[in-house]
């Protein structure tokens, strides 16, 4: 269970981009959401990360694994609602291929450690726990070292690890 408390510092697009590039990611497979929409301009303007937009989140999981089969290092960026939609892609591919995969998941409804009312938030960590997918919260640039840590964990586990974005675009 994430227990971090709210911080005043914001999560910046430049900071996230730096963290992704420093960790060696090559492709961003994503469907924008309220927690990651602010990244679009920065991602689209950066030639070193290929942006692969998808129509549905379940596609994103499997496209990313295809890229991994092809020896690339993709990251998936989706919202918690999209993670729920991706259930069978996670079960049948992410948890069965035996390959590292970083999921950056918008934590819709995250209430900075206070009780949550949005079911998109309430069910997120229990669902990840049920799948045995480790997860780590980021709320500001101060937390971005967790991206590299999560990727290292994904490589060691040869499986998916999630970074949960606890900041909604306003």
């Amino acid at each position: 269970m994430a227990t971090e408390t709210r911080t005043e510092a914001a999560l910046s697009a430049a900071g996230v981009l730096r963290a992704l590039k420093a960790s060696g990611f090559t492709d961003v497979v994503w469907l924008p959401d309220s927690e990651s929409g602010f990244l679009h301009q920065a991602l689209a303007a950066d030639d070193s990360l290929r942006l692969v937009p998808v129509c549905r989140e379940g596609e994103a999981i499997v496209i990313a694994l295809g890229l991994t089969v092809a020896d690339r290092q993709p990251v998936v960026i989706i919202q918690s609602t999209g993670l729920f939609e991706s259930g069978d892609s996670i079960r049948g591919a992410a948890l069965s291929f035996g390959m590292p995969l970083l999921l950056i998941v918008g934590y819709r409804g995250w209430n900075y450690g206070r009780p949550m009312t949005d079911t998109a938030a309430i069910y997120l960590e229990p669902v990840l726990n049920a799948w045995g997918i480790p997860h780590h919260l980021i709320e500001s640039d101060d937390d971005l070292e967790r991206v590299q840590q999560a990727w290292t964990e994904a490589v060691e586990r040869a499986g998916p690890v999630a970074v949960l974005v606890g900041q909604e675009y306003e």
Binding site: D27, G58, I63, L65, L67, T68, S89, A93
Partner: protein, 197 residues
């Protein structure tokens, strides 16, 4: 769009697989459902075969990812009609990504054969070729006879993709054998082979 229809519709699915196997060289093959179960009897390069059963119709997505990651290597996806109906958005995603090395072949038999032959929704009332073209794919073929498909295979495999092919096939009509290799094992094997080339 090329659409060829004849007096004797419905292609023998196994004959189509045989034709594909005879012309396949170093392409990666991602397949699902009935074609995944039948393909091992025809494939001559099992190390580059990736059966992908399950995940609610995501074979086209897996093929897209591999194609984007290895643009110099052609990727063939053998999809099912029921499977592609579960993931129709992937046609738009593929059209947007424009991988020149991806050939998506849907084997349309009108039923969920692997679960006993129940009809797919809208059986016979929609056109995959039209859906593909409407999604932004430009190189689209449709066949309901084997001979013209075989006659166009070289063109299909040699031209710039993304390429979409709809084969109107008959049901295999028997319980197909289960794949010998599990998905994760096959995926890791293909990854190893690609890493070494």
């Amino acid at each position: 769009m090329l659409a060829i229809t004849t007096e004797t519709p419905r292609i023998d699915c196994l004959a189509a697989l045989d034709a594909l196997a005879s012309r396949r060289t170093d392409q990666i093959v991602v397949n699902t459902m009935v074609t995944a179960r039948e393909w091992p009897a025809y494939s001559r390069n099992e190390d580059l075969d990736l059966p992908f059963i399950g995940c609610m119709g995501k074979a086209s997505s897996l093929g897209l990812g591999i194609a984007l990651g290895r643009p110099e290597r052609q990727v063939l996806v053998f999809d099912g009609d029921g499977s592609l109906l579960m993931n129709l958005g992937s046609l738009v995603t593929i059209a947007a990504a424009r991988p020149k090395n991806l050939v998506l072949i849907v084997f349309e038999n009108g039923v969920y054969e692997i679960t006993g032959g129940q009809p797919v929704p809208g059986q016979g009332q929609f056109s995959f070729a039209a859906l593909a073209r409407g999604s932004g794919l430009e190189r689209v073929y449709e066949f309901d006879a084997l001979e013209p498909f075989v006659a166009h295979l070289e063109e299909i495999l040699s031209g710039p993709g993304p390429t979409f092919v709809c084969l109107k096939v008959a049901e295999v009509g028997r319980r197909s054998p289960k794949p010998g290799r599990v998905m994760g094992e096959a995926a890791r094997r293909v990854r190893e082979v690609l890493a070494g080339t």
